[in-house]
Protein backbone atom coordinates (compact mmCIF):
# COMPACT_ATOMS: atom_id res chain seq x y z
CA UNK A 1 0.00 0.00 0.00
CA UNK A 2 2.83 2.37 0.80
CA UNK A 3 3.87 2.57 -2.83
CA UNK A 4 0.34 3.53 -3.80
CA UNK A 5 0.00 6.17 -1.09
CA UNK A 6 3.26 7.67 -2.32
CA UNK A 7 1.89 8.44 -5.77
CA UNK A 8 -1.48 9.75 -4.58
CA UNK A 9 -1.93 13.51 -4.18
CA UNK A 10 -1.91 14.60 -0.52
CA UNK A 11 -5.64 15.32 -0.45
CA UNK A 12 -6.62 11.84 -1.61
CA UNK A 13 -3.99 10.18 0.53
CA UNK A 14 -5.45 11.83 3.62
CA UNK A 15 -8.93 10.47 2.84
CA UNK A 16 -7.60 6.94 2.56
CA UNK A 17 -5.41 7.20 5.63
CA UNK A 18 -8.47 8.20 7.65
CA UNK A 19 -10.22 4.91 6.87
CA UNK A 20 -10.34 1.99 9.31
CA UNK A 21 -7.33 -0.28 9.30
CA UNK A 22 -9.51 -3.34 8.61
CA UNK A 23 -11.02 -1.72 5.54
CA UNK A 24 -7.65 -0.47 4.37
CA UNK A 25 -6.32 -4.00 4.39
CA UNK A 26 -9.07 -5.22 2.08
CA UNK A 27 -8.69 -2.53 -0.58
CA UNK A 28 -8.70 -4.04 -4.04
CA UNK A 29 -9.10 -0.97 -6.21
CA UNK A 30 -8.91 2.77 -5.84
CA UNK A 31 -10.89 4.48 -8.56
CA UNK A 32 -10.20 8.10 -9.35
CA UNK A 33 -12.38 9.91 -11.86
CA UNK A 34 -12.21 13.63 -12.60
CA UNK A 35 -15.14 15.62 -11.14
CA UNK A 36 -16.63 12.48 -9.61
CA UNK A 37 -16.35 11.12 -6.11
CA UNK A 38 -13.43 8.96 -5.07
CA UNK A 39 -14.44 5.29 -5.04
CA UNK A 40 -12.73 2.44 -3.28
CA UNK A 41 -13.44 -1.21 -3.90
CA UNK A 42 -13.03 -3.29 -0.76
CA UNK A 43 -13.52 -7.05 -1.02
CA UNK A 44 -15.64 -6.64 -4.13
CA UNK A 45 -17.88 -3.96 -2.63
CA UNK A 46 -17.89 -0.29 -3.57
CA UNK A 47 -17.24 2.30 -0.88
CA UNK A 48 -17.47 6.06 -1.34
CA UNK A 49 -15.37 7.42 1.52
CA UNK A 50 -16.36 10.56 3.38
CA UNK A 51 -14.07 13.48 3.87
CA UNK A 52 -15.01 16.52 5.93
CA UNK A 53 -18.64 15.50 5.94
CA UNK A 54 -18.99 14.97 2.20
CA UNK A 55 -17.84 12.85 -0.66
CA UNK A 56 -14.36 13.57 -1.90
CA UNK A 57 -14.82 14.85 -5.45
CA UNK A 58 -11.68 14.62 -7.56
CA UNK A 59 -10.49 17.92 -8.98
CA UNK A 60 -8.63 18.22 -12.28
CA UNK A 61 -5.62 19.45 -10.29
CA UNK A 62 -5.55 16.26 -8.26
CA UNK A 63 -5.68 14.10 -11.35
CA UNK A 64 -2.90 16.21 -12.88
CA UNK A 65 -0.77 15.70 -9.80
CA UNK A 66 -1.44 11.98 -9.84
CA UNK A 67 -0.41 11.75 -13.47
CA UNK A 68 2.73 13.76 -12.73
CA UNK A 69 3.70 11.40 -9.94
CA UNK A 70 2.90 8.31 -11.99
CA UNK A 71 4.99 9.52 -14.90
CA UNK A 72 7.74 10.99 -12.73
CA UNK A 73 6.91 14.32 -14.38
CA UNK A 74 7.77 12.84 -17.77
CA UNK A 75 4.81 11.95 -19.93
CA UNK A 76 7.11 11.27 -22.86
CA UNK A 77 8.58 8.30 -21.01
CA UNK A 78 5.16 6.66 -20.79
CA UNK A 79 4.50 6.38 -24.51
CA UNK A 80 4.31 2.60 -24.49
CA UNK A 81 2.22 2.54 -21.32
CA UNK A 82 -0.24 5.08 -22.68
CA UNK A 83 -0.64 2.91 -25.73
CA UNK A 84 -1.43 -0.15 -23.63
CA UNK A 85 -3.64 1.74 -21.23
CA UNK A 86 -1.96 0.95 -17.94
CA UNK A 87 1.13 1.73 -15.89
CA UNK A 88 2.87 -0.65 -13.51
CA UNK A 89 4.24 1.12 -10.44
CA UNK A 90 6.63 0.14 -7.65
CA UNK A 91 5.29 -2.84 -5.75
CA UNK A 92 3.75 -4.37 -8.87
CA UNK A 93 0.50 -2.43 -8.55
CA UNK A 94 -1.19 -1.46 -11.77
CA UNK A 95 -2.89 1.73 -12.71
CA UNK A 96 -5.43 1.44 -15.50
CA UNK A 97 -6.16 4.57 -17.52
CA UNK A 98 -9.12 5.82 -19.52
CA UNK A 99 -9.76 9.06 -21.34
CA UNK A 100 -9.58 10.40 -24.84
CA UNK A 101 -7.81 7.99 -27.14
CA UNK A 102 -5.62 9.23 -29.98
CA UNK A 103 -5.44 6.85 -32.92
CA UNK A 104 -3.11 6.70 -35.85
CA UNK A 105 -3.98 4.62 -38.90
CA UNK A 106 -6.69 2.90 -36.91
CA UNK A 107 -4.34 1.85 -34.12
CA UNK A 108 -4.29 3.26 -30.63
CA UNK A 109 -1.42 5.72 -30.34
CA UNK A 110 -1.95 7.08 -26.87
CA UNK A 111 -4.50 8.14 -24.29
CA UNK A 112 -4.72 11.88 -23.89
CA UNK A 113 -6.79 13.82 -21.38
CA UNK A 114 -6.83 10.99 -18.89
CA UNK A 115 -10.05 11.20 -16.89
CA UNK A 116 -10.16 7.89 -15.04
CA UNK A 117 -7.54 6.06 -13.04
CA UNK A 118 -8.05 2.63 -11.60
CA UNK A 119 -5.34 1.69 -9.14
CA UNK A 120 -5.42 -2.07 -8.67
CA UNK A 121 -3.69 -3.22 -5.55
CA UNK A 122 -1.45 -6.17 -6.27
CA UNK A 123 -1.48 -8.77 -3.55
CA UNK A 124 0.93 -11.58 -3.79
CA UNK A 125 -0.56 -14.59 -2.07
CA UNK A 126 2.51 -16.53 -1.12
CA UNK A 127 1.80 -20.21 -0.58
CA UNK A 128 -1.57 -20.65 -2.29
CA UNK A 129 -0.12 -23.07 -4.84
CA UNK A 130 1.69 -25.18 -2.26
CA UNK A 131 -0.92 -27.89 -1.87
CA UNK A 132 -1.16 -28.53 -5.60
CA UNK A 133 2.52 -29.15 -6.09
CA UNK A 134 2.18 -32.99 -5.76
CA UNK A 135 -0.22 -33.00 -8.71
CA UNK A 136 2.03 -30.90 -10.89
CA UNK A 137 5.47 -32.29 -10.16
CA UNK A 138 6.56 -35.77 -11.06
CA UNK A 139 10.33 -35.93 -11.30
CA UNK A 140 10.05 -32.80 -13.39
CA UNK A 141 7.46 -30.07 -13.64
CA UNK A 142 4.58 -31.15 -15.86
CA UNK A 143 3.28 -28.96 -18.66
CA UNK A 144 0.35 -27.29 -17.00
CA UNK A 145 -2.45 -25.06 -18.18
CA UNK A 146 -4.64 -23.08 -15.81
CA UNK A 147 -8.13 -22.53 -17.19
CA UNK A 148 -10.57 -20.03 -15.74
CA UNK A 149 -12.72 -16.97 -16.45
CA UNK A 150 -11.29 -13.53 -15.60
CA UNK A 151 -10.86 -12.71 -11.91
CA UNK A 152 -10.54 -16.32 -10.81
CA UNK A 153 -6.99 -15.95 -9.63
CA UNK A 154 -5.20 -17.62 -12.53
CA UNK A 155 -2.36 -15.15 -12.58
CA UNK A 156 -2.05 -15.15 -8.80
CA UNK A 157 -1.76 -18.94 -8.79
CA UNK A 158 0.66 -18.82 -11.71
CA UNK A 159 2.83 -16.32 -9.86
CA UNK A 160 3.00 -18.54 -6.80
CA UNK A 161 3.83 -21.56 -8.92
CA UNK A 162 6.68 -19.60 -10.51
CA UNK A 163 7.93 -18.77 -7.04
CA UNK A 164 7.81 -22.41 -5.91
CA UNK A 165 9.56 -23.61 -9.06
CA UNK A 166 12.38 -21.10 -8.83
CA UNK A 167 13.01 -21.49 -5.10
CA UNK A 168 12.39 -25.23 -4.81
CA UNK A 169 11.48 -26.95 -1.57
CA UNK A 170 14.03 -28.91 0.40
CA UNK A 171 11.45 -30.62 2.65
CA UNK A 172 9.72 -32.09 -0.37
CA UNK A 173 12.99 -32.79 -2.16
CA UNK A 174 11.95 -30.30 -4.83
CA UNK A 175 14.99 -28.93 -6.62
CA UNK A 176 14.93 -25.34 -7.82
CA UNK A 177 14.79 -24.61 -11.52
CA UNK A 178 15.59 -21.72 -13.81
CA UNK A 179 12.33 -20.03 -14.66
CA UNK A 180 11.73 -17.77 -17.64
CA UNK A 181 8.67 -15.56 -17.47
CA UNK A 182 7.27 -13.89 -20.58
CA UNK A 183 5.17 -11.19 -19.00
CA UNK A 184 3.31 -9.48 -21.80
CA UNK A 185 0.98 -7.50 -19.54
CA UNK A 186 3.47 -7.00 -16.70
CA UNK A 187 1.09 -8.85 -14.41
CA UNK A 188 2.99 -11.93 -13.33
CA UNK A 189 6.14 -10.26 -12.09
CA UNK A 190 4.95 -6.64 -12.07
CA UNK A 191 8.29 -5.30 -13.25
CA UNK A 192 9.48 -1.74 -12.84
CA UNK A 193 12.48 -1.01 -15.05
CA UNK A 194 12.82 -4.74 -15.66
CA UNK A 195 13.15 -5.69 -12.00
CA UNK A 196 10.36 -7.94 -10.64
CA UNK A 197 8.43 -6.27 -7.82
CA UNK A 198 6.91 -9.48 -6.54
CA UNK A 199 8.82 -11.98 -4.52
CA UNK A 200 9.54 -14.69 -7.06
CA UNK A 201 12.79 -16.28 -5.99
CA UNK A 202 16.30 -15.74 -7.27
CA UNK A 203 16.26 -17.91 -10.38
CA UNK A 204 13.72 -15.91 -12.33
CA UNK A 205 14.32 -14.15 -15.64
CA UNK A 206 11.59 -11.88 -16.88
CA UNK A 207 10.92 -10.53 -20.36
CA UNK A 208 8.70 -7.67 -19.40
CA UNK A 209 6.01 -6.31 -21.73
CA UNK A 210 7.18 -8.65 -24.46
CA UNK A 211 4.75 -10.23 -26.94
CA UNK A 212 4.29 -13.83 -25.82
CA UNK A 213 5.10 -15.77 -28.97
CA UNK A 214 8.26 -13.80 -29.71
CA UNK A 215 9.20 -13.70 -26.06
CA UNK A 216 8.99 -17.46 -25.70
CA UNK A 217 11.26 -17.92 -28.68
CA UNK A 218 13.72 -15.38 -27.30
CA UNK A 219 13.77 -17.17 -23.97
CA UNK A 220 14.31 -20.56 -25.58
CA UNK A 221 17.12 -19.27 -27.76
CA UNK A 222 19.05 -17.26 -25.25
CA UNK A 223 18.06 -17.80 -21.62
CA UNK A 224 17.92 -21.60 -21.43
CA UNK A 225 15.05 -21.80 -18.95
CA UNK A 226 14.00 -25.13 -17.41
CA UNK A 227 10.45 -23.91 -17.04
CA UNK A 228 8.67 -21.22 -19.07
CA UNK A 229 5.81 -19.29 -17.52
CA UNK A 230 3.32 -17.40 -19.71
CA UNK A 231 -0.01 -15.75 -19.14
CA UNK A 232 -3.13 -15.87 -21.31
CA UNK A 233 -2.17 -17.79 -24.36
CA UNK A 234 -4.67 -18.08 -27.18
CA UNK A 235 -3.35 -16.90 -30.50
CA UNK A 236 -2.00 -19.11 -33.22
CA UNK A 237 1.58 -17.85 -32.85
CA UNK A 238 1.43 -18.70 -29.16
CA UNK A 239 0.67 -22.35 -29.77
CA UNK A 240 3.50 -22.56 -32.31
CA UNK A 241 5.93 -21.17 -29.77
CA UNK A 242 4.61 -23.54 -27.11
CA UNK A 243 5.18 -26.47 -29.42
CA UNK A 244 8.70 -25.24 -30.07
CA UNK A 245 9.39 -25.03 -26.36
CA UNK A 246 7.94 -28.44 -25.61
CA UNK A 247 10.07 -29.97 -28.35
CA UNK A 248 13.10 -28.24 -26.90
CA UNK A 249 12.46 -30.07 -23.65
CA UNK A 250 11.29 -27.03 -21.74
CA UNK A 251 8.35 -27.37 -19.39
CA UNK A 252 5.63 -24.77 -19.69
CA UNK A 253 3.16 -23.41 -17.18
CA UNK A 254 0.50 -21.18 -18.73
CA UNK A 255 -2.96 -19.76 -18.25
CA UNK A 256 -5.93 -19.33 -20.52
CA UNK A 257 -9.45 -17.91 -20.43
CA UNK A 258 -12.23 -20.49 -20.38
CA UNK A 259 -14.26 -22.59 -18.02
CA UNK A 260 -13.33 -26.21 -18.59
CA UNK A 261 -11.07 -28.37 -20.67
CA UNK A 262 -13.86 -28.71 -23.21
CA UNK A 263 -13.60 -24.99 -23.93
CA UNK A 264 -10.07 -25.56 -25.15
CA UNK A 265 -11.35 -27.93 -27.81
CA UNK A 266 -13.41 -25.10 -29.24
CA UNK A 267 -10.32 -22.99 -29.82
CA UNK A 268 -8.88 -23.79 -33.25
CA UNK A 269 -5.50 -22.37 -32.30
CA UNK A 270 -5.13 -24.56 -29.19
CA UNK A 271 -6.78 -27.69 -30.53
CA UNK A 272 -3.62 -29.16 -32.13
CA UNK A 273 -1.79 -28.88 -28.82
CA UNK A 274 -4.55 -30.77 -27.05
CA UNK A 275 -4.63 -33.46 -29.70
CA UNK A 276 -0.92 -33.96 -29.25
CA UNK A 277 -1.39 -34.26 -25.52
CA UNK A 278 0.92 -31.39 -24.72
CA UNK A 279 -0.85 -30.40 -21.52
CA UNK A 280 -0.01 -32.95 -18.83
CA UNK A 281 -2.15 -31.15 -16.29
CA UNK A 282 -5.17 -28.94 -16.74
CA UNK A 283 -6.34 -26.96 -13.74
CA UNK A 284 -9.86 -25.57 -13.83
CA UNK A 285 -10.55 -22.58 -11.63
CA UNK A 286 -13.82 -20.97 -10.58
CA UNK A 287 -14.85 -18.03 -8.45
CA UNK A 288 -17.43 -20.14 -6.62
CA UNK A 289 -15.77 -19.86 -3.21
CA UNK A 290 -13.95 -16.65 -3.92
CA UNK A 291 -11.09 -16.22 -6.39
CA UNK A 292 -8.61 -19.05 -6.52
CA UNK A 293 -11.03 -21.95 -6.06
CA UNK A 294 -9.75 -24.99 -7.93
CA UNK A 295 -12.52 -27.10 -9.36
CA UNK A 296 -10.46 -30.01 -10.57
CA UNK A 297 -7.18 -30.97 -12.09
CA UNK A 298 -7.18 -33.24 -15.11
CA UNK A 299 -4.40 -34.99 -16.97
CA UNK A 300 -3.74 -35.05 -20.69
CA UNK A 301 -6.39 -37.72 -21.25
CA UNK A 302 -9.03 -35.69 -19.48
CA UNK A 303 -9.02 -37.95 -16.39
CA UNK A 304 -9.43 -36.22 -13.07
CA UNK A 305 -6.47 -36.39 -10.77
CA UNK A 306 -7.88 -33.96 -8.23
CA UNK A 307 -11.44 -32.96 -7.51
CA UNK A 308 -12.69 -30.39 -5.08
CA UNK A 309 -14.79 -32.11 -2.47
CA UNK A 310 -18.23 -30.61 -2.31
CA UNK A 311 -19.12 -29.92 1.27
Amino acid sequence: MKEILDVLPDTIRRVIEQMDTDIKKGIEEIRIRILRPLEIIVDGKSIIPDSDGGKHVITPQESGQLLNKLSQYSLYALEEELKRGYITIQGGHRVGLAGKVITEKGQVKAIKHIASFNIRVAKQKVGIADRFVPYLYDGKWLNTILIGPPQTGKTTLLRDLARIISTGDIARKLPSFKVGIVDERSEIAGCVNGVPQHHLGDRIDVLDACPKAEGMMMMIRSMSPDVLVVDEIGRKEDSEAILEAVNAGIQIIMTMHGNTMEDLFRRPSIRPLLDMGVFDRMIELTRANGPGTINRIRNQHGKEVYCKKVI
Binding site: N68, Q72, S74, L75, Y76, E79, A110
Partner: protein, 170 residues
Protein backbone atom coordinates in the same frame (compact mmCIF):
# COMPACT_ATOMS: atom_id res chain seq x y z
CA UNK B 1 53.91 59.00 -2.41
CA UNK B 2 52.03 60.57 -5.30
CA UNK B 3 53.33 57.95 -7.70
CA UNK B 4 52.23 55.12 -5.45
CA UNK B 5 48.72 56.60 -5.22
CA UNK B 6 48.56 56.99 -8.99
CA UNK B 7 49.56 53.38 -9.53
CA UNK B 8 46.89 52.21 -7.13
CA UNK B 9 44.20 54.25 -8.85
CA UNK B 10 45.18 53.03 -12.31
CA UNK B 11 45.37 49.42 -11.15
CA UNK B 12 41.95 49.63 -9.53
CA UNK B 13 40.23 51.14 -12.53
CA UNK B 14 41.89 48.69 -14.90
CA UNK B 15 40.69 45.81 -12.74
CA UNK B 16 37.15 47.23 -12.75
CA UNK B 17 37.26 47.43 -16.52
CA UNK B 18 38.43 43.83 -16.83
CA UNK B 19 35.68 42.65 -14.47
CA UNK B 20 33.06 44.39 -16.52
CA UNK B 21 34.47 42.93 -19.71
CA UNK B 22 34.44 39.46 -18.14
CA UNK B 23 30.69 39.68 -17.72
CA UNK B 24 30.42 40.34 -21.43
CA UNK B 25 32.52 37.32 -22.33
CA UNK B 26 30.84 35.11 -19.72
CA UNK B 27 27.39 35.44 -21.27
CA UNK B 28 28.13 33.84 -24.67
CA UNK B 29 30.10 31.13 -22.87
CA UNK B 30 27.23 30.24 -20.61
CA UNK B 31 24.77 30.46 -23.48
CA UNK B 32 26.87 27.93 -25.33
CA UNK B 33 26.80 25.65 -22.30
CA UNK B 34 23.04 26.06 -22.01
CA UNK B 35 22.67 25.03 -25.63
CA UNK B 36 24.75 21.94 -25.01
CA UNK B 37 22.60 21.21 -21.96
CA UNK B 38 19.36 21.42 -23.93
CA UNK B 39 20.81 19.23 -26.65
CA UNK B 40 21.71 16.60 -24.08
CA UNK B 41 18.26 16.93 -22.58
CA UNK B 42 16.81 16.32 -26.01
CA UNK B 43 18.85 13.15 -26.36
CA UNK B 44 17.82 11.97 -22.88
CA UNK B 45 14.16 12.56 -23.66
CA UNK B 46 13.90 11.47 -27.26
CA UNK B 47 16.31 8.55 -27.36
CA UNK B 48 16.74 7.57 -23.72
CA UNK B 49 13.15 8.12 -22.56
CA UNK B 50 14.77 9.06 -19.25
CA UNK B 51 12.42 10.49 -16.64
CA UNK B 52 12.97 14.20 -16.14
CA UNK B 53 14.51 13.96 -12.67
CA UNK B 54 17.01 11.35 -13.79
CA UNK B 55 17.85 13.35 -16.91
CA UNK B 56 18.52 16.41 -14.75
CA UNK B 57 20.97 14.44 -12.62
CA UNK B 58 22.84 13.35 -15.74
CA UNK B 59 22.99 16.92 -17.02
CA UNK B 60 24.17 18.27 -13.68
CA UNK B 61 27.04 15.81 -13.79
CA UNK B 62 28.13 16.88 -17.25
CA UNK B 63 27.83 20.64 -16.99
CA UNK B 64 30.02 23.32 -15.36
CA UNK B 65 28.93 25.20 -12.28
CA UNK B 66 26.12 27.69 -12.50
CA UNK B 67 24.14 25.54 -14.94
CA UNK B 68 24.80 22.33 -13.03
CA UNK B 69 23.24 24.00 -10.00
CA UNK B 70 20.10 24.71 -11.99
CA UNK B 71 19.52 21.10 -13.02
CA UNK B 72 20.44 19.87 -9.56
CA UNK B 73 17.80 22.14 -8.07
CA UNK B 74 15.16 20.98 -10.56
CA UNK B 75 15.80 17.36 -9.63
CA UNK B 76 15.74 18.16 -5.93
CA UNK B 77 12.41 19.90 -6.24
CA UNK B 78 10.92 17.04 -8.24
CA UNK B 79 12.05 14.54 -5.63
CA UNK B 80 10.53 16.66 -2.90
CA UNK B 81 7.22 16.20 -4.69
CA UNK B 82 6.58 19.49 -6.43
CA UNK B 83 3.07 19.65 -7.89
CA UNK B 84 4.26 19.98 -11.47
CA UNK B 85 7.47 19.93 -13.47
CA UNK B 86 6.82 23.51 -14.52
CA UNK B 87 6.73 24.69 -10.93
CA UNK B 88 10.03 22.97 -10.14
CA UNK B 89 11.57 24.40 -13.30
CA UNK B 90 10.41 27.96 -12.72
CA UNK B 91 11.37 28.19 -9.08
CA UNK B 92 14.80 26.71 -9.85
CA UNK B 93 15.24 29.32 -12.58
CA UNK B 94 14.49 32.08 -10.08
CA UNK B 95 16.90 30.69 -7.53
CA UNK B 96 19.85 30.14 -9.85
CA UNK B 97 19.43 33.10 -12.16
CA UNK B 98 21.42 35.57 -10.09
CA UNK B 99 24.51 33.34 -10.27
CA UNK B 100 24.54 33.38 -14.07
CA UNK B 101 25.43 35.99 -16.66
CA UNK B 102 22.10 35.49 -18.44
CA UNK B 103 19.66 38.24 -19.31
CA UNK B 104 15.91 38.59 -19.73
CA UNK B 105 15.85 37.07 -23.23
CA UNK B 106 17.23 33.70 -22.10
CA UNK B 107 15.02 33.77 -19.05
CA UNK B 108 11.94 34.05 -21.28
CA UNK B 109 13.12 31.19 -23.51
CA UNK B 110 13.71 28.94 -20.51
CA UNK B 111 10.37 29.85 -18.97
CA UNK B 112 8.55 28.92 -22.13
CA UNK B 113 10.40 25.63 -22.29
CA UNK B 114 9.51 24.97 -18.66
CA UNK B 115 5.84 25.40 -19.44
CA UNK B 116 5.91 22.39 -21.75
CA UNK B 117 8.55 20.17 -20.19
CA UNK B 118 7.36 16.67 -19.30
CA UNK B 119 3.82 17.33 -20.48
CA UNK B 120 3.88 15.98 -23.99
CA UNK B 121 4.95 13.01 -26.05
CA UNK B 122 8.41 12.64 -27.49
CA UNK B 123 7.84 14.38 -30.81
CA UNK B 124 6.26 17.39 -29.24
CA UNK B 125 8.93 17.57 -26.57
CA UNK B 126 11.62 17.50 -29.24
CA UNK B 127 9.97 20.33 -31.16
CA UNK B 128 9.85 22.51 -28.06
CA UNK B 129 13.50 21.85 -27.29
CA UNK B 130 14.50 22.65 -30.87
CA UNK B 131 12.54 25.87 -30.71
CA UNK B 132 14.27 26.86 -27.49
CA UNK B 133 17.63 26.09 -29.09
CA UNK B 134 16.88 28.36 -32.04
CA UNK B 135 16.00 31.22 -29.70
CA UNK B 136 19.13 30.64 -27.66
CA UNK B 137 21.19 30.65 -30.82
CA UNK B 138 19.88 34.09 -31.65
CA UNK B 139 20.67 35.32 -28.15
CA UNK B 140 24.13 33.84 -28.41
CA UNK B 141 24.76 35.64 -31.70
CA UNK B 142 23.79 38.94 -30.13
CA UNK B 143 25.88 38.28 -27.07
CA UNK B 144 28.92 37.51 -29.20
CA UNK B 145 28.49 40.64 -31.25
CA UNK B 146 28.26 42.66 -28.08
CA UNK B 147 31.36 40.99 -26.75
CA UNK B 148 33.40 41.76 -29.88
CA UNK B 149 32.17 45.35 -29.95
CA UNK B 150 32.63 46.30 -26.33
CA UNK B 151 35.04 43.93 -24.61
CA UNK B 152 38.29 45.57 -25.72
CA UNK B 153 36.82 49.00 -25.45
CA UNK B 154 35.74 48.49 -21.85
CA UNK B 155 39.11 47.06 -20.92
CA UNK B 156 40.98 50.07 -22.30
CA UNK B 157 38.31 52.40 -20.98
CA UNK B 158 39.02 51.23 -17.44
CA UNK B 159 42.74 51.85 -17.85
CA UNK B 160 42.24 55.21 -19.51
CA UNK B 161 39.72 56.35 -16.90
CA UNK B 162 42.33 55.61 -14.25
CA UNK B 163 44.89 57.72 -16.07
CA UNK B 164 42.38 60.56 -16.48
CA UNK B 165 41.66 60.53 -12.79
CA UNK B 166 45.36 60.59 -11.98
CA UNK B 167 45.97 63.56 -14.33
CA UNK B 168 43.07 65.45 -12.83
CA UNK B 169 44.32 64.82 -9.31
CA UNK B 170 47.89 65.85 -10.12
Amino acid sequence: MKILGAIIIIAASTWAGFEWAKKLSERPKQLRQLKVALQSLEAEIVYGLTPLGQACIHLAEQLPKPLAWFFETVNKKLEEGSSSAQEAWDSSLNEIWKFTAFRQGEMEVMRQLGATIGKHDRDHQQKQLRLALIHLEREEGEAKEEQVKYEKMIKSLGFLAGILLVILLI
